[in-house]
């Protein structure tokens, strides 16, 4: 454990080195958040659409922003670069588990992301009015869902980064992942707005757990058993992906041909 704690600490410190690029990145996300808020405000001004009222949509977008910011800022580029460049060779001679080590690094970057979320959500609430928080049981489920989001998102990013063993390029992989995740997670629009069959696919995919599940629970749009079921799906995917990622890693290792004389 000492080794992974050290990695968490190291990344937490290194995160500070990125504070300016983080602020720039934050700018882009903020513009998107503000634009979405403005658009939905107009759309929902007169009537509800698919059962969403304006205050609900505002809460949805804020949860989506928080979920999108968690485990998003650090790590994957460094990992991709080390695989593409062959520096991963040095990670292989360490007496630690590669996957756990990368997860520790993702956890180490959380604090700066949480601060960003706190500032942005706080400012939005101050400017546009408060949101209704759900009752205690639903709130507990929401928090559980947000906690599960951390390993879930890490694993999706991790597995897609492992494809660098085959692709020799990371940008394309990252764009493809973002496109799929934005659509199927409900980050762009709630899944209820998708065609029925696509919504059903999305709901059972690992991606719903990245935005839709915590947001719907927070809004109280899913209740009791259904909410529990969604969180169980999240947990199931975490377990499946955790072990699935190990298979991908093993296949990648076989594939590994580190360059150099």
């Amino acid at each position: 454990m000492r080794s992974y704690r050290a990695l968490i600490r190291a990344t937490a410190k290194a995160a500070l080195a990125y504070r300016f690029s983080l602020l720039l990145g934050l700018g882009a996300v903020l513009v998107q958040l503000v634009a979405l808020l403005a658009v939905w405000r107009v759309i929902l001004a007169e009537s509800t659409v698919n059962g969403f009222t304006w205050p609900q949509m505002r809460a949805y977008l804020l949860v989506a922003f928080a979920a999108g910011t968690v485990v998003s800022l650090l790590g994957d580029f460094r990992m991709a670069f080390r695989i593409l460049d062959g520096d991963v060779a040095l990670d292989l001679v360490k007496p630690i588990d590669y996957q756990k080590a990368r997860f520790a690094e993702a956890v180490g970057g959380l604090w700066i992301e949480l601060i960003l979320i706190g500032v942005v959500v706080g400012a939005t609430l101050a400017l546009t009015g408060g949101v209704d928080t759900p009752a205690a049981p639903a709130l507990a489920l929401f928090v559980t869902s947000m906690l599960l989001l951390v390993p879930l998102k890490f694993l999706i990013v991790y597995v897609s980064t492992l494809t660098c063993f085959w692709t020799q390029n990371y940008m394309g992989v990252q764009w493809a992942r973002l496109a799929v995740v934005n659509l199927l997670s409900g980050a762009l629009i709630p899944l209820a707005y998708l065609p029925g069959w696509l919504a059903a696919v999305a709901q059972w995919s690992p991606f719903a757990g990245l935005t839709s599940t915590p947001a719907l629970i927070f809004l109280g749009r899913v209740d009791g058993r259904h909410a529990l079921q969604l969180v169980a799906v999240q947990l199931g995917w975490v377990v499946v992906l955790w072990f699935g990622a190990r298979l991908v890693w093993r296949a990648g290792l076989r594939r590994l041909t580190v360059n150099g004389g």
Binding site: K13, A14, Y18, V93, V258
Partner: protein
């Protein structure tokens, strides 16, 4: 029992065989063709604890690939590796504690952290206790002068500073076996000297060292054993000094005389040596076999003939020998 043992170690890389241009790339999508490149070809190697082995060969000979196979980074296509009796892939974690690896062209420091933090993370990863860590760092500091670079952030290090920090990083856990792959590449002479001194200090402590280098000055005075690899095969494995005795016997005595002397006179007085005129009329080069004649005898003979103003003896370096091996001029063993 040897601490590093490789039997029939072979690594074949499969490279996509694409035709030129876009047409070739498209055709490759449908009809995949690959060429096999044998990077390491049935290498047998066993290294005893405490040995310092130089592993040399021309570019692309398979040096780094061998190091990666021996450290468990690459899986061999065929053959077997044992480190202290353990299997580097199957017992990856245990083996990781016993080996240290430095790739001169790669770094294991964190780009965004000061060197001291990077080393502290490695200390925790390897579970080194603080007292041992402090003692080790103090010792590294003596030779590598780490103190001045500890507070510097990884990405701001100069090449020489980075290499010193990476050496410390590779040895934080006090490994029994250290692979140094091109550890002095790109360094200036002062840093090279310091790094070489550091190699000697770890060897003297009983660490097994396998050193891969293009700069043969790295191995002279450090390694007793020389292994030469070419096209994936070991073409020589033996004592470095013996190679020098056998293949670097020639000495060249450069003399400057007070007045010109006829070449014929010099040649008849030094039978068995080759005498040639050099760029000015009073300078001569005398080539001789050091087992047939000593430099002292040559100088005494010449001094009896004429007044010597100056003289100097050149001995061929191991570099010359190995260059001749690479070029196929010399067949060892």
């Amino acid at each position: 029992m040897p601490i590093v043992e490789a039997r029939g170690l072979t690594k074949v890389f499969r490279r996509p065989d694409k035709g030129p241009g876009l047409a070739g790339a498209v055709r490759h999508l449908f009809a995949r063709r690959f060429t096999d490149k044998v990077a390491v070809d049935h290498v047998d190697l066993s290294i005893e604890a405490g040995e310092a082995v130089a592993y040399v060969g021309p570019n692309g000979a398979g040096k780094s690939t061998t190091v990666k196979l021996l450290s468990g980074i690459l899986v061999p296509t065929a053959g077997d590796v044992r480190i202290d009796g353990l299997h580097p892939q199957r017992d990856r974690t245990t083996v990781a504690h016993r080996i240290g690896v430095l790739f001169g062209q790669r770094t294991q420091l964190w780009w965004d952290l000061p060197v001291s933090e990077s080393l502290a993370v490695l200390r925790d990863i390897y579970g080194v206790d603080h007292a041992t860590y402090r003692k080790r760092m103090a010792r590294f500091d003596e030779v590598l002068e780490l103190g001045e670079i500890l507070p510097v952030v990884g990405r701001k290090l100069s090449l020489g500073q980075r290499m010193r920090a990476d050496l410390a990083a590779a040895l934080v856990h006090g490994p029994q076996v250290v692979y140094l792959d091109e550890p002095t590449i790109g360094l200036d002479l002062a840093v090279k000297d310091r790094v070489r001194e550091f190699f000697r200090s770890i060897r003297d402590e009983g660490t097994t060292v396998m050193l891969t280098s293009h700069d043969l000055a790295d191995i002279e005075g450090f390694c007793r054993r020389l292994v030469i690899i070419d096209q994936g095969r070991i073409i020589f494995d033996g004592d470095l000094e013996a190679v020098k005795d056998k293949f670097a016997r020639e000495r060249i005595l450069h003399v400057e005389t007070a007045a010109p002397v006829p070449l014929e006179t010099l040649r008849t007085s030094l039978p068995g040596a080759k005498v040639e005129a050099e760029d000015t009329p009073t300078r001569y080069a005398v080539r001789f076999d050091r087992f047939a004649m000593t430099a002292g005898q040559a100088v005494t003979t010449l001094a009896g003939l004429t007044e010597l103003v100056d003289f100097r003896v050149d001995e061929p370096s191991i570099e010359d020998v190995i260059r001749r091996v690479y070029s196929g001029e010399l067949v060892l063993g």
